[in-house]
């Protein structure tokens, strides 16, 4: 078996399934190579490649692939259509494979999860293993092993998040898609600013995943995007446990344009701010809005508890 370097772009679906991919590829004896943290260069390259109206996250994704294209034997580009029964994902994930295939002249390995066509996650990984030159049994074992590790890591994060709830500091829920929350250009400056101001940050994707369906139903019965359901559920679950909610999204995000509207109509008790990021964002503008938001939270908290202290 010859050894291969598999490139993984640090964008979009990486933030959902990173442990699964990395452990799977390592277990099969290949080397995963993850692109560097997002920077201005990724954005510039992405802007050149993508259509003007693509969302910021997709542009960054293309930038990451551009970085990897000369350094790897093959690049992992997943394609999703429906990862849960009767649910769908954003259409950007539907066309990811074909888009990359038409824009770049590279060796892509991909997997496809589409429950409407009876392509489950396990099947997808078995096929992925086949392309990498492993037998089905070996890939199955590797998948199970990777699944165990990624579940363990997720549980740990969920636990940490649950412990954070008991602090007496100001708590803010940072809600949005993980590829925006943890991105160096989008979510990181916000996180940095919040932790500098001694605020405890809760992340929407670290909600106990067994609660997602039940919590989401209380806010929205019709939503059919699996990834947006997570955000909805976390907002409903944490709304009376935190002091404020920050909604992060990239412009122009299809699912978010509707779900954010629904959230802002239904959440009336908890202070809420929506931050939309686009190509030409200045960090200063975001920070100014955050400062005033935090000031509001602080005065609100002082009004309730201030006299006792």
């Amino acid at each position: 078996m010859n050894h291969k370097i598999v490139g993984i772009p640090r964008a979009l679906l990486y933030y959902y399934d990173k442990d699964l991919w990395i452990e799977f590829i390592k277990k099969l004896g290949h080397t995963p190579k993850i692109s560097s943290f997002s920077n201005k260069k990724h954005l510039e390259e992405g802007q050149k490649l993508a259509n003007d109206e693509s969302c910021l996250s997709l542009k960054l994704f293309l930038g990451h692939i551009n970085e990897l294209k000369d350094e790897c034997d093959m690049i992992l580009v997943p394609r999703l259509f429906s990862i849960k029964k009767k649910e769908q994902v954003c259409t950007n994930f539907n066309c990811l494979y074909d888009l990359v295939n038409n824009l770049f002249d590279i060796n892509i390995i991909n997997y496809n999860i589409d429950l409407t066509e009876k392509e489950s996650k396990l099947m997808a990984f078995l096929k992925l293993g086949e392309i990498l030159g492993a037998s089905y049994i070996k890939s199955y074992k590797a998948y199970k092993y990777a699944e165990k590790i990624s579940l363990m890591k997720r549980k740990k994060l969920e636990q940490e998040q649950a412990e954070k709830l008991s602090t007496s500091k100001i708590k803010i829920l940072l809600a949005g898609h993980p590829y925006n929350l943890y991105d160096e250009l989008i979510g990181k400056p916000v996180c940095k600013f919040l932790s500098e101001n001694e605020i405890t940050i809760l992340y929407s994707d670290r909600i106990d995943h067994t609660k997602i369906d039940e919590e989401c139903k209380k806010l929205s019965t019709d939503i059919h995007w699996t990834h947006s359901k997570e955000v909805m559920a976390s907002i409903n679950y944490y709304q009376d446990k935190v002091d404020g909610i920050i909604l992060l999204s990239s412009f122009p995000c299809g699912p978010d344009s509707l779900s954010n509207e629904l959230i802002s109509h239904k959440i009336k008790e908890c202070p809420l701010i929506t931050l939309i990021f686009e190509d030409l964002n200045s960090e200063v503008g975001v920070i100014t809005r955050l400062e005033s938001f935090i000031d509001i939270l602080k005065t609100k908290k002082e009004k309730i508890y201030g006299k006792n202290n």
Binding site: E53, S54, C90, Y97, G254, S257, L258
Partner: protein, 355 residues
């Protein structure tokens, strides 16, 4: 209080839909007032900023019709963002303090017959299965025949000798279609009018310019956004081919999927979501049929189309096919569109001469 049903506009399809609703529910049906600048302004005022334009049009329709006294609203579902329109629209309208009942025709991607029947049974408990099926077949036939006639009109309207003949005849035809309740008569009317449409005198050169319109379904079907485009093309004496119509969406699309994947094999391995793959397929088909140009329309920020555009551009570049992209938003300047269309027309003419 009297119950009045209403629903948002979609081209001329409001006629068969309102007949269907009227005959099955036995309630009064008033389609929402025609789309004007004011409708769009109202819709845009209360919708989220970055949502696609059809949502704003629909919301504007709903607000105007609620003001007119409607209290039962119908909306369709569908793929992509359409599927989630209903809930958000309802929340926005409730926050505006309107009182109404809200029904969604189907919750999945495709029309589910049993689900729709149950819904209508709830509204009108006296509804028998026979009347429902009869009216369903009637409506489907109506839509199908209307689409077929529309295809003929689009082919010839740019070349009619006396102006507006096609449009007046179409109005007359729809009136006749509306007047009957029997399926047999409907079919007879169709044959009669098909004959009449073919007899309209036209002055059509054999080698006229031919342009295909592809793109997102709502902007293609709703005349307020696309009427200008088709009218302008007709004035330039160009034959128009448009693929998207309601009959395509309701029942033809499912059968075509495998065939489309086969034809587009060189460029696409999977479906691209919503109508993305369909448009790639149409591009290839238009190139094979030796059309002179392609016009692609979509609302601003339409995610499936944005994903498909780089692929379409690549195909057009490889095959040397001129293509023009239009992105509709709330603020549309017709003059800007006209200039771009004229330039496109000139380009097509020059290309023709050099062939």
């Amino acid at each position: 209080m009297e119950k009045i049903i209403s629903f948002p506009h979609l081209g001329d399809y409001y006629i068969p839909i309102s007949i269907f609703l009227e005959r099955t529910t036995k309630l009064k049906v008033i389609p929402s007032p025609p789309i004007t600048k004011k409708t769009i302004e109202l819709g845009a005022k209360y919708s989220p900023d970055s949502v696609c334009v059809p949502f704003k049009y629909n919301l504007g329709n709903f607000i105007e019709t609620l003001e007119n006294g409607a209290n039962i609203l119908f909306t369709a579902g569908g793929g992509c963002r359409y599927r989630y329109y209903a809930e958000v629209t309802e929340v926005i309208l409730r926050d505006l303090n309107y009182n109404f009942e809200f029904y969604k025709l189907f919750s999945g991607d495709y029309l589910n017959f049993r689900e729709v029947y149950r819904l209508f049974k709830k509204i009108n408990p006296k509804l028998s299965l026979y009347t429902f099926i009869h009216n369903a077949i009637y409506t489907i036939l109506f839509i199908w025949q209307m689409d077929k006639i529309d295809k003929i009109i689009r082919k010839n309207i740019g070349f009619e000798k006396k102006k507006k003949q096609h449009i007046t005849l179409k109005k007359e035809m729809l009136k006749k279609f509306k007047s009957t309740n029997s399926i047999l008569k409907l079919i007879l009317y169709y044959w009669k009018y098909k004959h009449l449409f073919k007899k309209i005198p036209i002055d059509k050169p054999k080698d006229c310019l031919k342009v295909g319109i592809i793109g997102e379904l709502y902007t293609a079907m709703e005349p307020f956004s696309s009427y200008f485009l088709e009218k302008e093309l007709a004035n330039m004496n160009i034959e128009i081919k448009r693929y998207t119509n309601l009959s395509y969406l309701l029942w033809q699309k499912i059968w075509l999927k495998k065939h489309m994947l086969r034809t587009t094999k060189k460029y696409c391995k999977y479906t691209l979501g919503a109508d993305g793959l369909d448009n790639v397929y149409r591009t290839i088909k238009l190139i094979n049929k030796k059309y002179d140009g392609i016009i692609h329309t979509k609302p601003f920020g339409c995610t499936p189309e944005v994903g498909a555009i780089p692929i379409i551009q690549k195909i057009c570049q490889e095959n040397n096919m001129p293509i023009l992209f239009f992105s509709y938003d709330v603020e549309n300047s017709n003059e800007g569109m006209k200039t771009r269309l004229e330039a496109f027309h000139d380009l097509l003419k020059v290309r023709r001469e050099h062939k």
